[in-house]
Amino acid sequence: MTAPTDTASGAPGAGPAPEPGSAAGGVLGNVFGAPAAPAEPAAGAAAEEAAPEPEPFGLGSSPVRQDALPKALGVYPYAADLWAEGLLWGAVLRSPHPHARIVSVDASAALALPGVHAVVTAADLPSDHGGRAAGAPHGPVIADRPVLAAEVVRHQGEPVAAVAADHPDTARLAAAAVAVEYEVLEPVTDPEKSFHAGPLHPDGNLFRHLPLRFGDPDAVGDVVVEGLYQVGRQDPAPIGAEAGLAVPRPDGGVELHVASTNPHGDRDRAAACLGLEPDRVRLVVTGVPGATADREDLSFQVTLALLALRTGRPVKMALGREDSFHAHAHRHPALLRYRHHADSLGHLVKVEAQILLDGGAYADVSSEALAAAAAFSAGPYVVPHVFVDAWAVRTNNPPAGRMRGEGALQACFAYESQLDKLAAKLGVDPLEIRRRNAMATGDLMPTGQAVTCPAPVGALLDAVAAEPLPPLPVDEPDTEWLLPGGPHGAGDPAAVRRGIGYAVGMVHMLGAEGADEVSTATVRVSGEQATVICAAVDAGQGFATLARQVVQDVLGVTDVWIAPVDTDQPAAGPTARGRQTWVSGGAVEKAALMVRHQLLQPIAANFGMSPELLQIADGKITSYDGVLGMPVSEALEGKELWATAQCRPHPTEPLDDAGQGDAFVSVAFCAMRAVVDVDIELGAVRVVDVTVAQDVGRALNPRQIEARIEAGVTQGVGLALLEELQAEDGRLVNPSFTGYRLPTALDTPEVRIAALLEERDVVASFGAKAVGAAPAVVAPAAVAAAVRAATGRPVTRLPVRPQDAVV
């Protein structure tokens, strides 16, 4: 199916896509074993909701998400619930060593176990040009990561072999029975040592060096502050671990049912790894159990497909928690050295920085994360002179990749810590020093790119500052006061100090540096029922709800069905980098507008006026002069209309050798005030309150924005205080939910929204900015600032450990 930009292609009745309910019908029929059929979830719920309150409708309202009830009831079908008749179970054997040469792999003992159907290794994947098994290297940017390790393992947990058996336990036992002889090599785990270590990969150890030169290198300020900052390894820790089902197809292809957030990208790369044409691999997106950017690593998907192809049977794999920690990419640990120059009034003169990101064993998106770290290294401030050297390097640590605000987050912690330091040195209020330097529309970023979108940095700071502070316990003696350490903890009010910290930050939206951003959507109306076909994955962020609101807004229909996603649909790109609202939402809007035109044109013609003079509101089509007032339902009766449209934001360019260029489509800003209580003897910290003001462009669904902000703040609080996937000599220390400490309800603060500033971003679809990443970028810096204020300690490392917060 081809769909050129902005072209309505279609005639009534000639719908381009399969019926909504039969999207997964091709090979499997209903792949969900659960009795709740996913096909018509709306029917029953809608009938019950036909109660007095009319459902919120259109953009700017906050309808309940379609998946909310099924998720709350536990009937939402996740990938782990997949089932197919006669399926086998997959299991993966992972390297116990962070760095080793594979001397030999002997699968005979595993194959001899009863119930084992296949064992695959790198030798079962297409070989490289030299005819050698290379494990089918792949990667989102550079293809450097094998699906199954060939010759060398470069991080602990790297997949070496995989097994399919008739029972999950048998599969696990068989995987353990694959005998691999390793020659253990010295791991390089200190990113600073990676520069001079021997190459860990034929591509070398440097993923990217990005020098950024902006202004006069000799400029100096009256006041100089320096700092060295460190950010630990955060994990996306999706509650639902990786799971999926692969089904062989009669044509020699394979169908993958996985919780992918980038179906077409994954399909294309999986096909390449398998040596198949892309159209012989079909990827069907199942319920995504939590994703904050990329989700399943490709190795998981390809291994699954390979096992299905090898055995000719459906194969299911559901990773355990430890496997899951090994399988997906983490946030880049970072080391940031900063020097800020300012004049005596606190105006920034120059920022110098060295930023080192530990990319782990494979390239993934390290170069992209590095671009964000360098470009936003000075923060949302006007700085005339900026000099940065940023590096992303290869080590034998677990691979790092995309995770909400990658690169921007690490820099935000460093530059905001520096601003606090500068404020302290100058004796200026931390809020005031930020206001004095705040960026505004028209200012230049250190990349030389002018900020053309709204940049209400000052207004955001004012909004959080104007919000009343949470009460002090002394003012409310009757309320139960939750002390740091939690209920029934060791907290002692006499040792508790309260601290208030501010932070403001920025993050880009959409792919940067020339990434081709494009999405396609089809909107079809059949009678009063509209259908959206768009391969944008709703990973829980709410795209399906938004698409519904968009169609309601444009066409005035209530009943909008969002088709499940698979790769038979045109590509919509990954659900990451805050792009779906803009790119896919934009495509849905365009398609809906084309349908609207098809609907209104004949009506307008009847009245001898142009369709532009008609409007749709409150379920009615009305003309400017009030002559016409026809219910939409009447106009649509018996009609079948559809249109397909594409949205492609304006292009960007790569950063040059001096880090200069218009690399970003747009940026979003967020300001926060964090209030913490610290038990200064034990170093226990409780975040009491986080107040947020965010630059959202336009609030398309206020409740979903609030949910995104709460999620971002929670994840940020996690990184600030709790979450660190530790590795010792390249080996994970805490790959479990006992060891890896996610914030619980008790660790999560009250999140208050001081303002959602709605200054339209004129180039963005709907004028709306992405909302997911910004709060995650800023929250760690705000919490660190508050701990600093409470304790007087420097707080230069995330997460803040108890020993960093004792006085």
Binding site: A490, L682, L721
Partner: protein
Amino acid sequence: MLPATLEEAVEALAAAPAAVPVAGGTDLMGAVNAGLLRPPALVGLGRISELRGWRYEDGGTAVLGAGLTHARMGRPDFAALIPGLADAARTAGPPQIRNSGTLGGNIATADPAGDTLPVLAALEAAVTLTGPAGSREVPVSHLLTGLDPMRPGELLGWVRVPLLHAPQVYLKATGRSGPARAAASVALVLDPARRAVRCAVGAVAPVPLRPLEAEAWVSTCIDWDGERGIDPAALTAFGEYVAGACVPDPQALADPGGPAPGAGDGPAPAGGPPAAAQRLRRTVAVLARRALGRALK
């Protein structure tokens, strides 16, 4: 197998010696799921209702069933009897775990960070072990240190705890507000009849440690006949004394042969053994000081 009495359970275990007893399963099933344990058979203790409550014995002793859940021990009626154990039970994991995790399981698992263990050590509790050859009583400390371990075929039936009718405190440092294992913990009980303070430190060593000298010293600082007051300086000194007794000397650790103290599942101590020991000492000192302060308040 789901026996209804302790006797039946002992028989079931004797009949299938490879079977493993399971109470709440919160420790056991984790090990099974992680593939660390593959029990050929399980003997479920959950139906033994006699073990889910407690009774009194004369001489001021409560006999607690091994099947008491953390949630049950956290309730006010139990807290009025043995407040220290109630305190510990209330902090032992999230509510789901406390609803099924049991006292017996906590003792049998003998995790260094097990929350009931320091309290039982401070209370000088004893357990009744029942096997095919009959029952025997073993002090908790002997069981935990391995001086007198559980024998094959034996089940932990009862825990005998003295009723002291005086304040008891259990404090644990976790570094967070949500549920977590202890990085260090202190249990402290007052025994006014004997004019004694008993204290145990958890999570800093494989078993709870008793700072006997510090206990003896501080009990002389308390005005037992009056309002049980104490000089604040003595509170602080007690904290230091306890920490000094229970956490190895940071200086001694500076030599590479010294063992690193266990620090629960919290972030790995940075700065090497001496710095970590220094911090642990400080934490224990604060906990011990606060615990005594609360007990005497």
